[in-house]
């Protein structure tokens, strides 16, 4: 019996109708596209990405830039798949994953990504508070609960579309990293070659190099980004006419974000590596912008870091609650108020409270950032494999199922991430990154 066959006396009616469009005019569509691209920038760059990119450049010069190519392709491919699954099925990742694989198997990605989500919220709170702490010299430990309160109020009260785009728009100030890269890098050919053929001369110690590669991949493809993108497609009521929008947002937006990340790594490679200056504290991260562009560079970097951390904090918080609500089949999303959907908002609160509690144990924020990005990379196969299975199931996707070329690329990325999952803990121990 085909999955789509109905049983009952009422006419067939699916929960959503992918063929219905929002009926927008041309200008509104262009606007949505533009904002979607900008949101892609904010989604690709967060505090974890900022720190791991700067650390990579400072420690290994250009030897880890190749991870950007893998990260961009991986993010673009799986974001496109997540968006297409949401549009074609009218349902989100965790909803269809549980439907396709069953409650017991689907519990594995849920637990893995929930841990990643909570830690990512903590990382983004750290990003916000370290910026304020740098300016005011107030301990970031005192600021963490305040930052969480700010996120809570914002996610409670602000409309989804505004929330999705404000952080990304302000986060464009992170383009200062591209400016400092242009101002400080001189060996462009070496850097360009390293994208595809890294020089291993600076890739030591090897265990730390490989573990750093894992953290970078996790920073480029943090699990919350895919959950948020999938749920966001339904929050914004994307229909069948948004398949093209989905493809453009997931590729072009990613490209802009990758440019900023390249700027961060290149800047650190040019200005920190020659002095053997590691990025072990937030003040170290500010150094290259002060050296290159003075107070203006520092201001842009601080504003940009706060903005992308804030935006990513909102997204990670929502993604955590999305995943749990979708797994259990409860109402989720910003369309309802807290009094209409208390379970969803309780989930948001739970994410923030857990993150604050962990943060207040005085864990080193930059070390936590690196480890969290690595944990994110380890959690990815548990999401990507079920997503790939659903995206290839004609009963769910109809004609929108994965093309063979997409499957080849997706499987290569997945294979690499499985190696990451297997190697992460041994490399963590060997590199002493704990």
């Amino acid at each position: 019996m085909r999955r789509s066959q109905t049983y009952g006396v009422h006419p067939a009616a699916s929960l959503t109708r992918p063929e219905e469009s929002a009926g927008r005019g041309r200008m509104a569509k262009i606007s949505a596209l533009g904002l979607g691209i900008l949101a892609g920038v904010g989604g690709f760059v967060d505090f974890g990405g900022i720190i791991t990119s700067l650390q990579a450049g400072a420690q290994f010069r250009y030897a880890l830039i190749w991870t950007l190519v893998v990260g961009v392709i991986g993010f673009a491919v799986y974001a496109e798949i997540a968006g297409r699954v949401a549009i074609a099925t009218g349902r989100t990742m965790y909803d269809v994953i549980r439907d396709r694989l069953g409650a017991r198997v689907a519990l594995i990605p849920l637990i893995a990504t929930t841990i990643s989500h909570v830690l990512t919220v903590l990382v983004e709170l750290a990003g916000m508070t370290l910026v304020i702490s740098y300016i005011t010299h107030i301990s970031y430990l005192l600021l963490i609960p305040l930052a969480a309160l700010l996120l809570a109020i914002f996610v409670w009260k602000v409309d989804f579309e505004i929330m999705d785009n404000v952080g990304a728009l302000i986060g464009l100030t992170m383009l200062v990293a591209v400016v400092t890269m242009i101002a400080s890098v001189h060996d462009w050919i070496h850097m360009a070659i390293s994208l595809f053929h890294p020089s291993m001369a600076t890739a030591h110690p090897v265990a730390l190099y490989l573990f750093s590669a894992i953290s970078l991949l996790g920073a480029y493809m943090t699990p919350y980004q895919f959950d948020f993108y999938s749920a966001g497609a339904l929050e914004e009521e994307w229909g069948a006419t948004e398949f093209v929008t989905n493809r453009v947002v997931s590729t072009v937006g990613t490209g802009f974000g990758a440019l900023i990340t390249l700027g961060l790594t290149g800047t650190a490679a040019a200005l920190l590596y020659p002095h053997h200056q590691a990025v072990s504290g937030f003040a170290d991260a500010v150094l290259p912008f002060r050296e290159s562009l003075g107070a203006v560079g520092v201001a842009f970097f601080l504003v940009g870091t706060f903005a992308v951390s804030f935006g990513a904090g909102l997204e990670a918080t929502m993604s955590g609650s999305y995943a749990v609500m979708q797994y259990f089949g409860f109402d989720w999303g910003k369309k309802g108020t807290a009094l209409q959907e208390p379970l969803f908002y309780f989930g948001l609160l739970g994410m923030l409270v857990l993150a604050v509690l962990i943060g207040e144990t005085r864990v080193n924020p930059l070390l936590t950032t690196t480890l969290t990005m690595a944990i994110g990379a380890v959690a990815l196969p548990f999401n990507f494999l079920p997503l790939l299975i659903v995206a290839n199931d004609r009963d769910y996707m109809g004609d929108s199922k994965n093309a063979p070329a997409m499957n080849i690329v997706a499987c290569i990325i997945l294979g690499l991430l499985i190696l990451v999952t297997v190697g992460a803990i041994p490399l963590l121990i060997l590199s002493g990154s704990y």
Binding site: Q5, T6, A13, G90, A106, A152, W156, F328, G329, F330
Partner: protein, 126 residues
Amino acid sequence: MATPRLLLGEQVLDKGLISKDGRRVGKVDDLLLEINEEDPESLPEVLGILTGPLTLAEEWQGWLRWLMYRLYRFLGIANPKPIFIPWDAVVLIQAVVRLDLTRRQVGLTKLIEAVDRRFVRWLPWT
């Protein structure tokens, strides 16, 4: 005309539940079947749907089950139980299972009201 057959595992289990008032009220976490002991060869009869986190918790490892029951107690729900939906409340099965019951009639509001009462409504920005 042949009687339509329903593959419960494929077409019903883990599907989303939608109430009469259009709300998501959980998933088909389990099914309650009755076997006719006088005619063991006959197909079991579906009595209804079991739903709610506690339904799943019964299948989980001990510590996860304990955590779920503790969470319900924390929310102020005494004697938490899985939610049972009689099979005759099911009106349509497709990508989701539609019910002829409101969210309140399903029984999900106990959990929702507990969360609202204990946490959400007391927040100053709600």
